[in-house]
Amino acid sequence: MDNQYTLLLVEDDSFLIEILVKKFKAANFRVVHAGEGKEALRKAHDEDPDIIMLDIILPGMNGFEILEKLKSDESVSDIPVAFLSNLGQKEDVEKGKELGAVDFIVKANHSLDEIVKRTGELIAEHGTK
């Protein structure tokens, strides 16, 4: 399909991955998954995603560090990145936006439908393709 979007989901909780992948696939997304930072950076290059959804608490590099690396690499710095995390203190949200995230979605505050919908909106607003 021409209008299929690619989502790079960086998440380490296998159950959440399963649910999210299922939901996004049902909404006609191509979903690529990475369980930690290095894999995420590699896939950001190789898979050419339309958006990256990033958890914060991950094994190895945390989400903020991954975002910094993505933004300092010109070949991928244009890809919109949104946090999808259960951290949600004001400081975290501010830090995320400062580092260049386009949104900060607290998982627990949203239904899957909302998250899928919001992801589509973010690609429409910030997507570069």
């Binding site: 959440l16 259960n86 203190q89 004001k90 627990a108 239904s111 439908d113 909302e114």
Partner: protein, 524 residues
């Protein structure tokens, strides 16, 4: 007392002189007897030769008992007294003074201030001592006396000089008492106090401060604070003292955290004294840190599994065909959502109460905020059965309100969620936003109303509805899992906005909540 030859057969001059001396002696006796200050005269061997009535009163020893006794026998601190007498001998003129403990005849002890001045003959040879003893009127808690500055001195010296050789006894007593009291208070303080004089020398240090700085009180007074320069752990403190900051600052000394307040005051003689207060906040910091860590960890650790459950139930509820199974999944979804709300409410409460979240007011379009949340709330309709939300968008655009967006969202969320929670699925929640024109001189407000057709608030609960953890009986019956925090937080937030929140309610018919917020001024 004076050995004078009064033989009338001597020449007339001698007789006159003898008379005069006799009168003088009588005068002196009368005078010392009248003096309320206890005075005794001690010879150069430190033996008492003469006492006045006040001395007998204070010590309980009669004149006869006292005469011929070593002065030091009347005091607990024998050695200190002996040293004091010797010191008075060496210093040419001035008096020596010290706080000592007097033993009375009845076996009790009294805190007194002993003043000693040397007696000398024409050739400046020591012939004995004048000793004044004034009581310290109130027994004070034992204050350490090792620090030089903690001994009674300057104030009373000053008094002596002012009044020449007739000391004002009451004045000395009161000054000594006040001085002692102040010292006892300073020393008993749980805060560290350090006084530094205009020459950068340590003037006073209380027990707590000496402890914190690990210095010996008995010899640190009078030394420059520069002597502490080599101490790495005191670097921040010394820097702070020298920079004299306007506001208290937090610093570390070893592993403890202190809030340090530096104040410069001027004494009457125009000299600057620097007061340094050390307030130990190690424990508060630790607790604050723990709380923050707990809140962050709790938020994350509780939310993560709840998200999984919530999303699983969301998928189930949307895919199950069997009506009964679908209902069970819906109920599970709603419970999970409630639980997440409770977690969020508790986190909000904690942050609001700790005052950690400052308010960031900016001109805010309240209609957009309502619209956003209404849309979010409606999204649940696909999964849950809930009342319809009707938002009457105002025809003309409303002026912006002065608000903290994040905080205002919490209020709108609480009010709209409440309305949905307590309204049956076939009911309605109507939201309106208008400009409220005030009749008097107050400025106009933007008013939002959220009207539901729910269970209403019973009359007897209406005055308590904004209290923390309060829930009305009828609410507890149909929703056992609320926290009673939402409206409390909402009121706190609206109050911070200089706004108003209130409601009208009829049990069984519904409730309307109103909020009014000030319109943002152009310069806001």
């Amino acid at each position: 007392m004076f050995n004078v030859d009064t033989n009338p057969r001597n020449n007339i001059d001698t007789a006159d002189l003898a008379d005069e001396l006799h009168n003088l002696e009588a005068y002196m006796e009368e005078f010392t007897a009248f003096l309320p200050l206890a005075v005794c005269i001690v010879n150069s061997n430190q033996v008492i030769v003469e006492v006045n009535k006040a001395f007998s009163r204070i010590s309980g020893h009669t004149k006869n008992q006292s005469s011929g006794t070593l002065l030091s026998d009347f005091f607990i601190e024998k050695d200190q007294l002996r040293i004091l007498l010797e010191k008075a001998d060496q210093t040419s003129s001035s008096t020596e003074e010290k706080k000592l403990t007097l033993k009375t005849e009845s076996g009790k002890t009294k805190n007194v201030v002993v003043t000693i001045g040397p007696r000398r003959d024409i050739n400046n040879n020591l012939t004995g001592y004048y000793v004044g003893i004034s009581p310290i009127l109130v027994q004070l808690p034992a204050a350490p006396t090792s620090g030089k500055k903690l001994d009674i001195q300057s104030e009373d010296d000053q008094n002596d000089k002012d009044t020449e050789n007739v000391p004002d006894v009451m004045c000395v007593g009161t000054a000594a008492y006040e001085h002692q009291k102040t010292l006892a208070i300073i020393d008993g303080m749980r805060n560290g106090l350090l006084v530094i004089d205009h020459e950068n020398k340590i003037d006073t240090i209380n027990a707590h401060a000496a402890d914190v700085l690990s210095v010996d009180r008995s010899n640190i007074c009078g030394k420059s604070i520069d002597t502490l320069d080599g101490r790495e752990e005191l670097k921040d403190l010394i820097r702070l003292i020298r920079s004299n900051p306007d506001k208290p600052e937090k610093i570390k000394i070893d592993k403890q955290t202190f809030e340090v307040d530096v104040e410069v005051t001027q004494t009457e003689d125009g000299k600057n004294y620097t007061l340094v207060m050390l307030h130990d906040i190690t424990k508060d910091e630790f607790i604050e840190d723990m709380k923050l860590t707990f809140v962050t960890v709790a938020a994350h650790q509780i939310r993560t599994p709840l998200s999984s459950i919530r999303w699983s139930l969301e998928i189930l509820a949307s895919q199950l065909q069997d009506e009964e199974q679908k209902k069970i999944a819906q109920r599970g979804y709603r419970s999970t959502q409630n639980m997440l709300e409770i977690v969020n409410a508790l986190l909000n409460l904690d942050r609001l109460q700790s005052g950690e979240d400052g308010y960031n007011f900016e001109p805010t379009d309240i209609v957009t905020l309502i619209d956003d949340y209404v849309e979010e709330a409606r999204a649940n309709e696909r999964i849950l059965e809930q009342a319809d939300i009707i938002f009457h968008q105002p025809e003309d655009s409303l002026p912006k309100v002065k608000a903290d967006q994040e905080k205002l969202k919490i209020v709108l969320r609480n009010l709209i969620d409440n309305a949905l929670k307590y309204t049956p699925a076939d009911g309605t929640v109507k939201i309106d936003a208008t400009v409220h024109v005030t009749n008097d001189y107050g400025s106009d407000m933007v008013q939002v109303s959220i009207a539901d057709s729910g269970i209403g608030i019973p009359a007897q609960s209406q005055d308590k509805i904004f209290s923390k953890f309060y829930r009305a009986d009828n609410a507890t019956k149909i929703k056992t899992d609320g926290t009673g925090i939402g409206l409390y937080i909402s009121k706190q937030i609206i109050d911070e906005h200089d706004g108003t929140i209130w409601f009208e309610s009829q049990e069984g018919e519904g409730t309307t909540f109103y909020i009014q917020l000030p319109i943002a001024q152009i310069q806001d």
